[in-house]
Symmetry: C2
Subunit: 600 residues, 2 copies
């Protein structure tokens, strides 16, 4: 067997005269008057190899049988090309290999799509033949960057005293959170393991166990209906620390992010990252993961229009809602159609409508302008900084609806006006998330993060008076409108934990039923602790400029959780189920007379 | 909150005079005439902190409430101890902290066992309270070493051009191998994912995908009945390469092993590691994972005794079996009871008995001696190097039985005679495993490794004549009698793959039914490739001198696959099962009249 002495893509003029053996795949072949040129590809790149009757002998005849994606081994000498045949598009463009010996290592059928970047192929075909898709340089580079990013995370954490600890994949179904994947037990009939949605409980147990600084690049599982940026199994960089303040932890994580972006994409991020409270983020950007690469902040004008003749403004303002406005600078020239299209856009985010005003030739125009009083116009002009050519957009509704409508409108306008610089990485910490949210259905407070999230020390008195106003020591790291990480400091004092469960409507005894072993652990000396988890797939997606998580994963699943390559999930043998003490229940078909679902 | 400025275990005389804040757990407290001494522990070690009415003020009163495993924060000054109170047993033994301020961060109930090394506790109690168990220095050190070992693996592989790629956990049930853990699909009724027994197929697909050098520290799953050194989920360092020879790969892995042992336990291993063929290992040591820290090799004496009057020897020799002997040097003095105990020992490994001869005062003694002819005694004396004081042990049976009996006897005697130096790490490669084994039940050959294992080039002709004699390019790395790694070169040529399946009794069409997508991938240009996987848990076990895999895993499962800490597996809500389109089948009880299992 002729095994490689050199990599294809690394040969340069300095290798001229060297005898080399190369292994690789046939990218392309050209026969020019009896001389055969083959572009040979390995993971480092492409080099031109030449077969000529003058120096190749019978190697030429063998090479002549090679087709696209055959695997070849060739030996020969590196020579400089004629200057007029230099190829500036490839690193090895000034040299070629005069082949003396060849071995066809293996043959290849014609691939279902060309193995090259930029080719338009249906994604399902790419996933079915993922092993061919992975040969394309952009996929190779993505996996390379992913591997490098993992190393940067690990090196930083190792250097800062973190211990990598593996936590179980076969664990217990948790009472909160998303839907679990279950694994029937053979040894324990009618019992199940669950795959972890995150190592949350284990990492807190490790802190109780005195590990002080833990990390793991952990696989997590959620059996949810998928969107473009969700996968049933995904990877997070999971971190937990003891005896650090929130600021100390966030500083450390910033340093890590700076290193990550410097060493992968060469970006120099400035520190400290902006810190914005959840309240400010929602007020100004209508989002808890604002894209801060551009301004276009929304302004609350409820106070100005609370007595307005614009009926909807006044009535919303009078019933606890808010009225907010965006000033789309220079957009007064939008067409009627563009303005009309805003209504269905608003509806998509739950809004009942969008009012607009254009400012043209010094004049406010639009259906609602006639209802404004002069003092309202003057107050709005000042608050919104209104100038000639502006387009003002108003949403009046419940706070959350206004945030959704104007927040998404802000992004749409930002993109359309080219306000977003794609070369910029704009990080920020969103801090002071609310500890509790009111569940209208259950008529009780629920934990916004999880029941172990530590409230702000200064807000403890609010447990008695206004639990909804308590700020949590919880934070998200956002990048260009994506949440790339999030976490919290955790409760470590029994009395605070009791206040928390009381606010959630549980006694400690009831809490034990759900969180028994973690609460029990907390009784044996719990250090102040807190952590964070980074969405690794999403970070790699942003680092590689992709818009789809599947592009960052070697063997991803489709939106309906199928692996097209190995055809999973799939039926199994009845004997396998029998050993697991389970039986499948056929989905009720919709045939007449069978419409009712069986009562299980 | 008073957060640590220093680590407890790292303070030395050079810190005298420094004001420090420490956080940690109360290891021990002693009240000596109104002065309170507490040993405060964090993950770096222990330091003595002192509360004295003279300088501690009310901190003394607060400290007085602290009990074992309370978490404290203390501030004070590092002072040198009186020389007569130096404690040479701890690193900080020459200093102590005069505490001025204290905060009880959290209280602790009395732990169910003392948090210290060497304590005798029932393992199930340790597992239930694993978070307390993990506070013990030996568990902390184990997790620290495990983390360090992972880093050494990764650093070496990163430095040598390997790319870390994550492969799916939710994948497809494989037709071969051990029992799979299954995961019912909610989206695809009556279909199942399987958890991977190893990333074998994916790593080969990555080679087809042109990754060339892959690694992953991968979680693997096998639903088997457990032994002390098995876990339902375990970790392997999974490696695959393209365009390397077996020797190149093994050399690289040796370099990695040398680095690992140097940087964790400071052992200097000499290279190259011994390479021993499977045939030699079985012949000399009766094992494919021989402990090579001592000799005591077994000798084949079938030729000498084939015409012997020792009936069992002659008849075994005449019917295709073998007769082998061990010379236990200096053991002629074993008591009759010790010799009698050898019979049940042999029986445990399938042997029908063990013949023995002692050599005392120049004379051979034992029940079978009278049947030996003088020329047999003289031939045996020469082959076995018999001397005064020796004990000869004979086993006659099928080859495999003799290997098991004498192989295990060799280990037992080696241990009892103190022939094994526990401070030595003796690595060896066992190579040239057989490609195929004869399955007596199925009356056909089966793959000893897997159906993609590459046969020796020189042995290809044996497919026609003697498939059982074909040597595979398969290898195990053994250390002190444990298999710590194993792998093979893989078939990359269609015609060899066809020969292999033919030998296994399959047509290519039938093979496609089992291995469809991998075989299809092989049709699109397959590089010569091969790999290895290291048992990471077992390596950590050997590096830390443990004898139980559970000691190396933060949250292990018991022998019946239970997680005692979080009580998994466990029953789940009926609604969860309904969503997964499954129903549990109660285990048939053994009540009279219900003895028959339901037909599923």
């Amino acid at each position: 067997m002729m095994l490689k002495t050199h990599d294809c893509g690394k040969l340069t003029k300095s290798d001229v005269g060297t005898k080399v053996t190369l292994n690789g795949w046939v990218q392309r072949r050209r026969d020019l008057g009896g001389v055969l040129f083959i572009d040979l590809r390995d993971r480092t790149g492409i080099v031109q190899i030449v077969f000529n009757p003058d120096f190749s002998g019978e190697a030429l005849d063998i090479a002549d049988r090679a087709r696209s994606e055959y695997v070849l081994a060739v030996s020969g000498e590196v020579v400089q090309r004629d200057p007029e045949t230099f190829n500036p598009n490839i690193a090895t463009g000034e040299i070629e290999i005069r082949v003396k010996e060849i071995e066809i290592m293996s043959a290849a059928k014609t691939p279902p799509f060309p193995v090259e970047d930029g080719v338009e192929v249906d994604e399902s075909l790419r996933l079915k033949y993922r092993y061919l898709d992975l040969r394309r340089p952009e996929m190779q580079n993505t996996l390379l960057l992913r591997s490098k990013a993992a190393k940067i995370f690990r090196d930083y954490l190792d250097d800062n005293g973190f211990i990598e600890v593996e936590t179980p994949i076969l664990t217990k179904s948790s009472p909160e959170g998303a839907r679990d994947y279950l694994v029937p037990s053979r040894v324990h009939p009618e019992e199940f393991y669950a795959l972890p949605q995150s190592p949350q409980i284990f990492k807190q147990l490790l802190m109780v166990g005195g590990i002080e600084r833990y990390y793991q690049i952990a696989r997590c599982f959620r059996d949810e209906d998928l969107r473009a940026d969700r996968q049933p199994e995904f990877t997070q960089v999971d971190i937990e620390t003891s005896f650090l303040s929130q600021d100390q932890l966030l500083d450390m994580m910033e340093e890590l992010a700076v290193k990550l972006f410097r060493e992968t994409v060469g970006a120099e991020l400035s520190r400290p990252f902006q810190r914005i409270t959840y309240a400010d983020a929602m007020n100004k950007y209508g989002s808890d993961k604002p894209d801060l690469r551009f301004g276009l902040e929304m302004e609350d004008i409820t106070d100005i229009v609370s007595g307005s003749d614009v009926k909807v403004f006044a009535s919303v303002a009078g019933s606890g809602g808010v009225v907010k406005a965006l000033n789309a600078k220079g957009c007064a020239g939008w067409s009627r159609k563009e303005l009309d299209d805003l209504q269905p856009f608003a509806a998509r985010y739950g809004g009942k409508g969008l009012a607009w005003v254009t400012v043209k030739e010094g004049e406010w125009r639009g259906p609602i302008v006639k209802f404004f009083k002069p003092e309202e116009i003057s107050a709005l002009t000042e608050r919104l900084g209104v100038e000639e050519g502006d387009l003002l957009l108003f949403s009046a509704d419940k706070k959350k609806v206004v945030a959704d409508v104007l927040g998404n409108l802000r992004l749409k306008i930002g993109r359309e006006l080219g306000l977003i610089d794609d070369s910029v990485y704009k990080f920020a910490w969103v801090v002071d998330f609310p500890l509790l949210g009111w569940d209208e259905e259950a008529k009780r407070y629920v934990a916004e993060h999880h029941p172990f999230t530590r409230p702000h020390e200064d807000d403890l008195h609010l447990f008695e008076t206004d639990p909804g106003a308590i700020r949590a020591q919880a934070y998200d790291l956002v990048l260009n409108g994506y949440e790339v990480g999030g976490g919290s400091m955790r409760i470590y004092k029994r009395e605070v934990q009791e206040m928390m469960f009381k606010a959630l409507g549980f006694t400690m005894e009831e809490a034990y039923e759900s969180f028994g072993y973690l609460l029990e652990a907390f009784e044996y000396g719990t250090p102040p602790h807190g952590g964070i988890a980074f969405g690794f797939d999403r970070l790699v997606m942003l680092l590689t400029g992709r818009t789809n998580l599947r592009e960052t994963i070697a063997f991803p699943k489709t939106a309906n959780a199928t692996d097209l390559l190995c055809d999973a999930p799939a039926p199994v043998e009845p004997s396998q189920l029998q050993q697991l003490h389970i039986r499948t229940v056929p989905k009720p078909s919709a045939k007449p007379g069978q419409a009712e679902a069986p009562k299980a």
